[in-house]
């Protein structure tokens, strides 16, 4: 990655992290968009899978430090989706809106699945409701916001001509 692209990606990443801690609480929705997942996915497709996994691990650990009872679960989930997203970047992130939306949707849902299972939260019923009701909803909202973010940040995220 060239320095220009690196700084552009960094700016987009910071904006998304800030949105996660400002817009998300302002909305206050039960199914709120996860801007950290969007940020990790956006960065992951621009770096090597190993680096993507490392970034996911760091983001996850920082996010988990708020809730120490599931400390590490978010890191594991972020690490996994970052690595996978970077591995699959040739498939996704063509200039297709639906594919991008599907990418965000699957990324968020996968994150929730790993996070809930690794965190051992609640009984089976609660986990099922979380994974098959709230997680898809949250993933859909995240996909929507991810698309909007892509459209808004397109000038920043566009790769500089070689």
């Amino acid at each position: 990655m060239r320095p220009t692209d690196f700084f552009r990606t960094l700016i987009a990443f910071i904006i998304l992290v800030l949105l996660h801690y400002t817009l998300r609480p302002l909305l206050g929705w039960r199914a709120a968009p996860d801007f950290l997942v969007i940020a990790t996915l956006l960065v992951a497709i621009r770096v090597r899978p190993g680096v993507a996994a490392l970034i996911g691990l760091c983001v996850g650990l920082v996010a988990d430090s708020v809730d120490v009872h599931v400390f590490g679960a978010g890191a594991l989930a972020m690490c996994a989706i970052g690595f996978t997203a970077s591995w699959l970047k040739a498939v996704f992130f063509a200039d297709d809106v639906l594919l991008n939306a599907l990418f965000f949707f699957l990324g968020k849902w996968a994150f929730d699945v790993i996070f809930v299972l690794a965190g051992h939260r609640g009984d089976v019923g609660q986990v099922a409701i979380q994974l098959f009701v709230w997680s898809p909803l949250t993933a859909a909202v995240t996909a929507l916001f991810g698309l909007v973010t892509l459209l808004i940040l397109r000038p920043v995220l566009r790769a500089s001509p070689s």
């Binding site: 090597r48 899978p49 190993g50 996994a53 400390f71 590490g72 890191a75 594991l76 690595f83």
Partner: protein
């Protein structure tokens, strides 16, 4: 796959596996290691982000509660407005009660039933009529002084003309009886229309601004000693043999909501002791209000004695220390129809500590 690319891929895999191992290790960390580590992260990297989140949540709460706060603010403002009206009404009723206590007999309390309509700006309708003993030409008074005169009477209501009516006349004099004249409405333009004129004052009588003018009792309609107004200034007129003075009425038109109608026998007996004139006029009004307060207190005691929650022993003990209530005189012809204890707009008399 070229060897370089394979090496890259192997490095990625190793890095990924390492990250997974670290994540699992983080999950399995004992509390004594995990908590300080998480705390360090919260205090360093996450601190500004948590502050941002806190501000955002506060903003959201403010946004959500703004309508509730507006509603509360409106309710408080509404209550405050109502409180002013209640206090004014309470004050007015206390004065009326005090006036009734001072008059003792020969009066009928009445409410002014309607505001001034078109063409009847200076006429008021009273809530008492001939059944209460009111007859035409009965004086209508308020705690501050003269309001007007009953013009026509029905069984349950009566019509009175206020001092601002063009036909209203009252024989008046200065407090020291040094100047006599006829007081009528000042037929000037607004806002002077709501002033009075004292005409026919002899040239040798010179009234100073601020001098109190009371009814003289001449003519038989109005008893002597009811405050009519205070001198503002002498008016320039074409009359060479008499002076004319401009008066500020004792009773403001906006204050006329509850009045007393003096019955003929009471008017004939005189009311000179009710409104003490001269420098004591203000204190007289205060005394009237104080009498209203004491009446309220007596009524409160009476109510508390009659309350069912009191035991008979307690009632007896209270009776033993309470002075007897003022017994109604046989000459009483009426009692106030509206007292603070029965009016919700008036604070409960029980709150007045004796």
């Amino acid at each position: 796959m070229p060897p370089a690319a394979r090496a890259f891929s192997r490095r990625d895999t190793v890095l990924f596996v390492s990250c997974i191992v670290v994540a699992f290790a983080a999950i399995q960390l004992p509390e004594r290691v995990r908590d300080p580590f998480a705390s360090t992260l919260r205090r360093s990297v996450l601190a500004p982000l948590v502050a941002l989140q806190s501000n955002a949540e506060q903003s959201r709460r403010s946004w959500l509660t703004r309508e509730q706060r507006e509603a509360q603010r409106d309710s408080i403002a509404l209550r405050a407005m109502a409180l002013d009206a209640t206090l004014a009404d309470n004050n007015r009723l206390r004065k009326i009660l005090g006036l009734g206590e001072s008059l003792k007999w020969g009066f009928v309390p009445a409410e002014v039933l309607q505001g001034r309509g078109v063409g009847e700006e200076y006429t008021v309708t009273l809530s008492a009529g001939s059944r209460a003993g009111i007859v035409p030409f009965s004086p209508v008074v308020a705690p501050e002084g003269l309001v007007g005169m009953v013009k026509s009477v029905d069984p349950t209501m009566s019509i009175a003309i206020a001092w601002a009516h063009p036909d209203f006349r009252v024989s008046a004099m200065s407090v020291d009886s040094g100047a006599f004249g006829i007081v009528g409405a000042h037929l000037g333009n607004e806002p002077e229309r709501y002033l009075l004129e004292m005409r026919g004052v002899t040239m040798r009588s010179n009234l100073k601004p601020g001098a109190l003018i009371v009814s003289s009792g001449l003519g038989g309609t109005f008893p002597r000693g009811i405050p009519v107004g205070t001198v503002i200034a002498e008016m320039k007129t074409s009359e060479l043999w008499a002076r004319t003075y401009l008066l500020r009425p004792a009773v403001a038109p906006s204050d006329v909501s509850d009045v007393m109608v003096l019955l003929p026998a009471r008017a004939k007996a005189g009311v000179q002791q009710i409104w003490k004139s001269g420098p004591y006029a203000d204190s007289a009004v205060k005394a009237i209000a104080a009498a209203g307060d004491s009446l309220s207190r007596l009524q409160a005691r009476k109510d508390s004695l009659a309350a069912p929650r009191d035991t008979s022993v307690r009632r007896d003990s209270v009776r033993a220390v309470t002075p007897p209530l003022v017994a109604p005189s046989p000459q009483h012809e009426a009692k106030p129809a509206r007292t603070p204890s029965t009016t919700p707009a008036v604070p409960a008399p029980t709150t007045t500590t004796p």
